[in-house]
């Protein structure tokens, strides 16, 4: 059932509780990776390839090795001889049996495959000495032809990996009825065929990545601190690829300043720090610089999308056919090949279509590897269908609002367990209310009048209104479904709930926060379930010694999987506590009721004990029921039966200066439905950040590579991450359609804003330019690009 916002309970589910984390964050008490230092630590300095594709002919480390403070300089060939690795860096998602997966070594032994590939590592006493020595390592290369774009990869004239026969890594398809799909196109009254480019994005978390490996030379064990989203996965993968026994590795993610997917990988630097610290018996550390990150941290997006829609005369969809060319970059990292496929099930968006076909081809290029970035495949899918629907509306000659209404799943009425044409089941949905509310909040009718007035007046500042109704797939994931997709791991999440002797509660979380507010949300779940104050709850996380089991945080999964696990573990604690209470009351357990944290016997309210009082009884174990184990500690590994499918409607309002081409986002309205909300304030924060990240793709951000596959804008001076100054005040609201496939009725909201916003913003830009006959605009819609489009539409420069 739907939970309405809780205004009476100061800290239960539904309360706008201030975040427990924030005091430590705003006072600097939180420790990030760069705040942690140990005696004798050595800094790594990476000598990175300046070539996109080349064979190393020589490396002269002599000058660097003799510099002050330098411990050693190790080349890829030397490291290969040291027998430090059991396997290359891992790819956990071989999406097809025949997928190409060239070896990705932490330091390249012979051939570099992208600018930023590591060719040697300096170990020095300080970061400055390491940086000085890196400059003195002389590397000579024999240049090889570089594959600098998806188009070049498809041409296959040059090979990104010379030992492969093609740049194509794999072909993956869902095409249940290709002939039927073609027949639908043949019979269509209206068709649109679109080509969209999802430009590469640099994730640019506020905190760069960093790592510190601290060995225990006498103990044989080693602690790996990393600014990671995935300490548990990192531990397993480090054991598997280094040969260091898993029981000797502890991974700690300290406070982590944002990830957005870019910190879910298994990176060369992490592996290097671990094996070198293990071998040398000294702590080894590294922190990336902002410009270095363009080559040392994976990027997002990187697709060319071919989208075809067919409809009847009224704009009712009859078929969707999608072909994606996805840029893998130089190597298959953890989930590189699967990332574009995370959107595969969603290319029909929120619309019913009888025929559906999706094909993705993955291509190697000599660029930084791609992998998950906020939304990971779903923003691309949402953009494609929502942009294409606007283009279909132009074709049919009806309003973009109307074409959406005509095509919503189940006619826009509520539904549960709807089977989509790709064969998966949407848990629940009800799309029309989000549209109606968004139109009302934005006053779209008023905006249309203002737009017409400006057009009539010939104003140079034109108004554009853009719409997006998105659906996404999150709550990753049912383990069997992942297995069916050839993903190597499961999708469960683990939790332990302990009622301590003094009545406080300790929650052990397998999902790992990097800014989301897990400590607050988990405390709120416990507060409601157990009837206690959220202040009495402590959440342990992000350290495999405290939280040995978990699958971490990505894919908007924490609440829908990890939060549910916590709720279920709390239920088990309550049930055991009920047995202790019944024993104390000398009553049958089935007669003991649990209300607001207290157990009482039905019909005799005078007999009552608060659950927190039972912590000591379970601990002392003086008088427990026969056969009961002491302590109140229960754990749950929850494997979700289904994904969750949040949705919403976003409206973007832009002002386009037709003389300069400048686009200003002047209004943004988001109505999201993520099911039940634990903390609406945290939900709003996620929507705000997500919206900005999608708007950033629409208007500002692009990783630009030149013809030699060099990135030309690696610094934040040229890679334009927008700030608050560029954003309007984002107006949010929500509807609530609980998930039907988990007991909390929750979905997920970490990526929703990003999934909805890029299409809304570009639809708005195109809407402003419609009088010029413009039907599409590439991302990012830079002022020069917009101005050129206006000039081209009007027959050249004006």
């Amino acid at each position: 059932m739907a939970v309405t916002e809780d205004t009476t309970n100061a800290g239960g589910i539904g309360a706008r509780m201030l975040r427990k984390e924030d005091g430590k964050l705003v006072t600097g008490e939180s420790k990030f990776i760069d705040d942690i230092h140990v005696p004798g630590e050595l800094w790594m300095g990476m000598v990175r390839s300046t070539m996109a594709h080349a064979r190393i002919t020589s490396i002269d480390t002599s000058a660097a090795a003799s510099m002050p403070g330098v411990h050693s300089v190790l080349t890829g060939a030397q490291l290969a001889d040291m027998d430090l690795w059991a396997a290359p860096l891992p790819c956990a998602w071989p999406v097809t049996d025949d997928m190409a997966n060239p070896p990705h070594w932490p330091v390249v032994p012979e051939v570099v495959h992208h600018v930023g590939d590591i060719v040697a590592v300096v170990l020095a006493d300080s970061r400055y000495q390491a940086a000085d020595a890196v400059e003195q390592v002389i590397v000579e290369y024999e240049s090889l032809p570089a594959v600098a774009s998806i188009e070049q990869a498809i041409a296959d004239t040059n090979l990104a990996h010379t030992d492969l026969s093609t740049n194509k890594a794999y072909t993956w398809a869902i095409a249940p009825d290709p002939e039927g799909t073609q027949a639908a196109f043949d019979a269509a009254a209206h068709k649109v065929s679109c080509r969209f480019v999802q430009q590469r994005l640099i994730p640019a978390a506020m905190e760069p990545r960093g790592v510190l490996a601290v060995p225990s030379p006498m103990g044989g064990d080693i602690t790996l601190y990393s600014a990671t989203q995935v300490p548990h996965i990192l531990k397993v993968m480090m054991a598997a690829t280094t040969g260091i026994p898993e029981n000797m590795i502890r991974v700690v993610a300290p406070s982590v300043g944002g990830g957005f997917g870019a910190k879910l990988n298994i990176n060369p630097d992490e592996s290097l720090a671990l094996v070198l610290a293990h071998r040398l018996g000294r702590a080894v550390r590294w922190t990336e610089t902002r410009s270095e990150a363009a080559g040392s941290t994976h990027q997002g997006r990187g697709q060319i999308q071919h989208v075809e829609l067919a409809s009847d005369a009224n704009g009712k969809l009859t078929a969707i056919r999608v072909k994606i060319d996805a840029d893998m970059g130089a190597y298959m990292m953890l989930i590189t090949p699967g990332t574009p496929l995370l959107g595969s099930f969603l290319y029909h968006g929120v619309y019913e279509t009888p025929k559906f076909s999706f094909t993705c081809e993955g291509w190697f290029t000599n660029r930084t590897p791609t992998d998950a970035y906020r939304g990971a495949g779903r923003p691309e899918a949402s953009y494609a269908i929502e942009r294409a629907m606007d283009m279909l509306s132009y074709e049919v000659g009806i309003d973009p609002i109307e074409i959406r209404r005509r095509n919503y799943i189940n006619g826009g009425e509520p539904f549960e367990m709807w089977e989509n044409p790709a064969g998966i089941f949407f848990d629940s949905g009800h799309y029309t209310p989000t549209l109606d509310r968004a139109l009302e909040m934005a006053d779209v009718a008023g905006l249309r009048a203002e737009q017409q007035a400006r057009r009539d007046a010939g104003s140079s500042k034109q108004l554009g209104i853009g719409l997006c109704t998105y659906v996404e797939i999150c709550g990753l994931a049912p383990s069997r479904a992942l297995g069916g997709l050839k993903y190597a791991a499961g999708g469960w999440e683990h939790s332990t709930v302990r009622l301590l002797p003094t009545g406080k509660v300790e929650v052990v979380s397998g999902s790992t926060p990097h800014g989301q507010g897990h400590e607050t949300s988990w405390s709120q779940i416990i507060a409601t379930k157990m009837g206690i104050s959220p202040d009495d709850v402590t959440v342990l996380h992000s350290d495999t010694a405290k939280s040995p089991l978990g699958l971490d945080t990505y894919g908007s999964r924490s609440l829908a999987v990890g939060g549910v696990a916590i709720s279920m573990a709390a239920d088990k604690v309550i049930e055991k506590a009920r047995l202790i209470a019944a024993h104390q009351f000398e009553a049958a357990p089935e007669d003991v009721e649990f209300t607001d944290g207290s157990f009482s016997v039905a019909g005799s309210p005078s007999k009552s004990v608060h659950i927190q009082e039972l912590g000591f009884a379970a601990f002392s174990a003086h008088d427990l029921p026969d056969g009961m184990e002491p302590n109140l500690q229960e754990q749950v590994s929850f494997d979700p039966p289904n994904f969750a499918f949040p949705f919403g409607t976003h409206v973007a309002v832009v002002e386009v200066d037709e003389d300069t081409g400048g686009v200003e986002l002047i209004g943004y309205f988001a109505v999201d439905d993520c099911g039940n909300q634990v903390n609406p304030m945290i939900v709003e924060g996620q929507v705000h950040g997500g919206v900005v990240q999608g708007a950033a793709q629409a208007l500002y951000e692009i990783a630009v590579y030149d013809d030699d596959a060099n990135i030309t804008n690696p610094s934040l001076m040229d890679y334009l991450v927008p700030s608050a100054a560029e954003m309007p005040s984002i107006v949010t609201d929500s509807t609530c359609t609980p998930s039907t496939t988990n007991p909390l009725g929750v979905k997920g909201v970490g990526e929703a804003g990003t999934i909805g916003s890029a299409a809304a913003v570009i639809n708005a830009v195109v809407d402003a330019l419609r009088p010029h006959g413009i039907t599409d605009m590439k991302m990012p819609a830079t002022p020069m690009r917009v101005r050129r489009a206006i000039e081209a539409a009007n027959g050249g420069a004006s």
Partner: protein, 273 residues
């Protein structure tokens, strides 16, 4: 983002700064607010042997004084002080306004007028304001002080008429309350201008940001205005004789187009019909 090693000298007075420059010669680099120099050092694009920090010198090198029809501004006066000075707002509102759109608040609280001018970045805002106003700069060196007209000061990309052993001490602009405007076009509020145009005194002074290797006076526009042209007619000459830089934000044609659009807007806003 890790600078190379350097020595650091903190000058307590202009004399100490000049002495340090004399001692270290070409090895030395003056630093005031550091917001131009430090990023270049972090990228190792410049690697001075000695950084002479003049940012803490007080006295005549800081502050704004209106002296008859001249405004005298100490070279170490910070952008935020220009931005918030009521004296400057009354005597030279163009300069006060331009200072308020440099970078972001943290940049404006560290950056100095003299530092920005000495850095001679064609993409910076303040050089254009001084050019449009017809200001001058006072340099102090071993041989004493000399006054350099702003129009003679910017000699090349990040190069100025300032000698390696000289320190900027003062900037002089005429009291100027005629029609003025500054049109800055960029993609993010904190960024350098893709193109900007400063207009003073109803169009008598017009200058361009990021339209060449130095901050530029738009002399063709000024001449057209002097000859009685309308704003639209004069603005058509905004890109005349320029060789705009090309980067991800704009090629030369687009920058030239922007210069014309922004100049027309600035002239109109400055009161030219």
């Amino acid at each position: 983002m890790i600078p190379a090693a350097f020595d650091y000298v903190r000058a307590g007075s202009a004399e100490e700064a000049l002495a340090a420059l004399a001692e270290h010669g070409d090895e030395a680099k003056l630093m005031a607010g550091g917001h131009s120099l430090i990023p270049l050092m972090r990228f190792r694009l410049v690697t001075p042997g000695v950084v002479v920090d003049v940012g803490n010198i007080d006295g005549d090198l800081r502050g704004i004084r209106v002296d008859g029809d001249v405004v005298r501004i100490g070279a170490l006066t910070r952008h935020s002080e220009l931005e918030h000075s009521t004296d400057l707002a009354a005597s030279c509102p163009l300069l006060a306004h331009v200072a308020s759109v440099v970078g972001d608040p943290s940049v404006r609280h560290r950056g100095t007028l003299g530092g920005s001018l000495a850095h001679a970045d064609p993409a910076s805002d303040l050089p254009a304001a001084i050019l449009a106003l017809g200001g001058s700069l006072v340099a102090r060196g071993p041989g004493g002080e000399r006054e350099i007209a702003a129009s003679d000061f910017f000699t090349g990309f990040l190069e100025s008429a300032l000698a390696p052993d000289e320190l900027l001490t003062e900037v002089r602009v005429p009291v100027s309350t005629g029609g003025w405007n500054y049109q800055k076009f960029n993609r993010r509020a904190q960024d350098w201008a893709i193109v900007a145009v400063a207009v003073s005194d109803g169009g008598k002074g017009v200058s361009l940001v990021n339209m060449g290797s130095t901050p530029l006076r738009a002399t063709a526009v000024e001449e057209a205005v002097a000859g009685g042209a309308s704003a639209a007619e004069a603005a058509a000459h905004a890109a005349d004789g320029t060789t705009p830089p090309e980067d991800l934000n704009g090629d030369a044609d687009y920058r030239s187009h922007l210069a014309r659009v922004l100049t027309e807007r600035a002239l109109n806003a400055a009161g030219l019909a």
